[in-house]
Amino acid sequence: GAGVSQSPSNKVTEKGKDVELRCDPISGHTALYWYRQSLGQGLEFLIYFQGNSAPDKSGLPSDRFSAERTGGSVSTLTIQRTQQEDSAVYLCASRWTGDSTEAFFGQGTRLTVV
């Protein structure tokens, strides 16, 4: 596709359920990021994949959060046993190899935990 695609765009889930959020990066982009955006907190870094290197998971807020990237392309962010404080917009971004390049963002998944 032409841009970063995220699905679903909106997700409402009950507290305690598991959710999976999907990100399709721009073809050929080797770096992929997940961020969480909530009011007043800006873009909170969650996890960073770069090529075949081990991911930087330093931003994951708890062990309920995990992410994988299959075949160097599609990524899935999984939140287990969701809590109300997990409600936020989850953004995915991708960029070409190189830390000086522009990151392109998807439209995000708005997660609401009720």
Binding site: G42, F45, R95, D99
Partner: protein, 112 residues
């Protein structure tokens, strides 16, 4: 690890006034610096970036930013704002081989 501080969470200005959105970063090595903008109900897009060379960087929509290594700052400026500049602005820093880290954002509100 690198970090970013955006000193103002909200900046209200009148149309045609100048504006400066402040950003400070911390890093022990050379960095790349970015400003992204998020218009209401839209995704993030790149406004400008500093990689190396000239410390004054020009971006889209008349914005510019100046890299100041001694003050570890990368403030964003525009000499005359428009209503359409109302948006949230994010400063970001990247070091070689590490994640792209964002500040908490500054909401610019332009009124007539």
């Amino acid at each position: 690890a690198q970090s970013v501080t955006q000193l103002d969470s909200q900046v209200p200005v009148f149309e045609e006034a100048p504006v400066e959105l402040r950003c400070n970063y911390s890093s022990s090595v050379s960095v790349y610096l970015f400003w992204y903008v998020q218009y209401p109900n839209q995704g993030l897009q790149l406004l400008l970036k500093y990689l190396s060379g000239s410390t004054l960087v020009k971006g889209i929509n008349g914005f510019e930013a100046e890299f100041n290594k001694s003050q570890t700052s990368f403030h964003l400026r525009k000499p005359s704002v428009h209503i359409s500049d109302t948006a949230e602005y994010f400063c970001a820093v990247s070091e070689a081989g590490t994640a792209l880290i964002f500040g908490k954002g500054t909401t610019l509100s332009v009124s007539s």
